[in-house]
Symmetry: C2
Subunit: 392 residues, 2 copies
């Protein structure tokens, strides 16, 4: 059901010909109201793609009536022409929606249309295919179109990713794409969340930032940060229900958490999903820093691939951080076995069962009470192949 | 010739049985004087192996009479017993050298013997093999033993690494090991440099720090920082020549630079050596930060492996740093072709010839006049295999 599970939204996904292989590559999500509140978070990469610059700008007013997304090209590092193309896409969406009578409660303007792109960096989009595609997507808009939209935003994703949470009379749904270049700030992804809860953009913004901080921002598949990350949350108010903040924030966090897990499970070439849990840190910041250092250690990621509980590489990664800890008080458990105690040899490493896809590493800093969990993957020959055999 | 190219040094390399495969695993370098000045730099990893803690301590006096090195075990994360083993090794070396009459200009004491270890983290050394090995190494000490010593410190190295620079009446020679876990601060390695120049430990320390800062510290094969890095410089004074500081520092830098290059060329699984040159940075620190970010980008390293001049991944890596730059003023050249100009598409990427082992990436930040060069490698399926198929 994806983004159309919440009332008040229609969506479509089509093949516009942006991808040379003919796969679906253009998605459209329209908020039919009555409300058009929206919030978004974007990549912290300082090299931002044209659609990110555009969408950050149009979100200033806290209102979006539509989101258009394309795969098959990131429109990043494409200069002034790239930005013009993004602008032209938003104009085309507004015009086409108005012409088709999808004018909801006041019509569409380019300044209320967010644009998201994903694919190869440094290549201009084929506008001669993209713009006619917008008309075809508008013609196929449907309250059941969420699934097709989720499929159209895939790049190296092997599966499309959707999630729906329904509460007392209202719903939060969403779709995500992402399989590589996954690293904090945000993980590389495009995500559109929708809700029919009746909330203003200030509440949406607060709930979305709180959710992404502990979900997408803690997915770190390969340490590589994208130029195009975008997470949008749109509210239609169509349920007529205004939930309390905590209840709503919890639902948004649940959807983000689930979609984040789906990203990790589909990470390029991965054979293991690794949950790095840092406990007893002096601060949450320390816990996150240590978790990321472990999650980005190529040697450890190779060892996990080989089902080798190589805790020495965990300690080596912890040692590169500035977090508060004493080397001779560090403890590490892998899949429940405390293989390292007090910075030295602990329980027998042969007791560690590494046969399953999920691997759980606990790093105990013995320096406080804070905790954080980072999700990552193993590093495999398939990852190398997928990222060296062709441009992506 | 390695560490015995400089007058006043003897060395040996033997198989003590620390490695299960029977390969050489114990090296000894002895300074026969008349001077016994020494300096050293060590890993910046906060989790330091026992031999690093020991050697830092004994170097406090600026004097070393011998260095004993073992491969086959890092003696890292081994607790109090590991430190006792390091201490016992130094005691054994001093005792055995004195017994054998290698007492040079005042005999040997444990407090003047540095210890270096490399191999798997978290395993105690087989002292029942190592200590008898010390006696056999002492018995084989020779002014021609440098080559054997260099061979005995190999771990996953496919070749042993040595370098000699001779100036007007004096010499700097050295040996190095290192093939993985190569990252700044220092690159993972054991290095022993020797000179017969007549210099005190203060001058040695200054020249060594200046050299490692721009050589070993800028080798970043896989972003992984070791617990055991050690670079030692010993001076015998046996040439009777006291060169000027600049001349001496240049010779030490030349040897470090050459050994650093050898480490990169032998990096685990690598098929490409990548020179990342950052130019027109606002500060040297910015240049180093950007260079490291590029050098550690797994996606770029995979692309280079696939001979794909994927400059988008270079910009994406630059964008994660806090260095001074404007995204629309960045320029990137790969093997001489400016594939990115002003943050956007530049010259035709098909012009880039990627057939050769060396790849040269220039990142122009257009923000100042400072520059730095970081060396790294591509990321390959062979690297994954080598680091997942068995513990290392």
């Amino acid at each position: 059901m994806s983004v159309t599970a919440a009332k008040g939204f229609t969506a479509a996904g089509i093949a516009a010909g942006i991808k040379e292989n003919g796969n679906p590559d253009l998605a459209l999500v329209v908020n039919d109201g009555p409300r058009r509140a929206a919030a978004g978070v974007f990549t912290s990469n300082r090299v931002k793609a044209a659609p990110v610059l555009w969408s950050e700008q149009v979100l200033g007013g806290g209102e979006l009536t539509a989101v258009v997304l394309n795969s098959g090209g990131a429109n990043a590092c494409t200069g002034p022409k790239g930005f013009q193309d993004t602008h032209a896409t938003a104009e085309k969406v507004a015009e086409s929606l108005n012409t088709a009578g999808h004018d909801g409660t006041g019509g569409h303007a380019p300044g209320h249309v967010a644009v998201c792109s994903t694919g190869l960096i440094g290549v201009l989009l084929p506008m001669d295919k993209l713009l006619p595609g917008v008309d075809r997507a508008v013609a196929q808009l449907s309250p059941h179109g969420g699934e097709k939209a989720a499929i159209a935003i895939k790049t190296t994703d092997t599966v499309h990713k959707t999630c729906v949470v329904t509460r007392d009379g209202w719903t939060v749904g969403g779709m995500a794409k992402g399989a590589g270049m996954l690293a904090p700030g945000l993980a590389t992804m495009l995500v559109v969340l929708t809700t029919d809860a009746d909330l203003d953009s200030g509440v949406l913004d607060r709930a979305l930032r709180a959710a992404t901080r502990v979900t997408f921002d803690r997915v770190d598949s390969d340490g590589c940060m994208s130029t195009n990350d975008t997470v949008l949350l749109l509210a239609s108010g169509a349920s007529g229900v205004t939930p309390g903040y905590e209840e709503f924030a919890e639902a948004v966090r649940a959807v983000c958490d689930d979609l984040g897990q789906q990203l990790i499970r589909d990470a390029e070439g991965a054979s293991k999903d690794i949950r790095v849990e840092v406990v007893n840190a002096a601060s949450e910041q320390d816990a996150v820093q240590v978790g990321r250092s472990i999650a980005r250690n190529n040697l450890l990621k190779c060892a996990i691939h080989g089902e080798d509980p190589n805790w020495g590489r965990v300690l080596s990664a912890i040692g590169t951080t500035g977090a508060a800890f004493e080397p001779d008080q560090l403890n590490v458990a892998i899949n429940g076995v405390w293989v390292c105690k007090n910075g030295s040899v602990g329980e027998d490493r042969d007791l560690v069962d590494m046969r399953y896809r999920e691997v759980h590493i606990v790093a105990d800093l013995a320096a406080g009470t804070e905790t954080a969990t980072i999700w990552t993957n193993d590093l495999t020959a398939d990852y190398v192949h997928e990222n060296s055999a062709y441009s992506s």
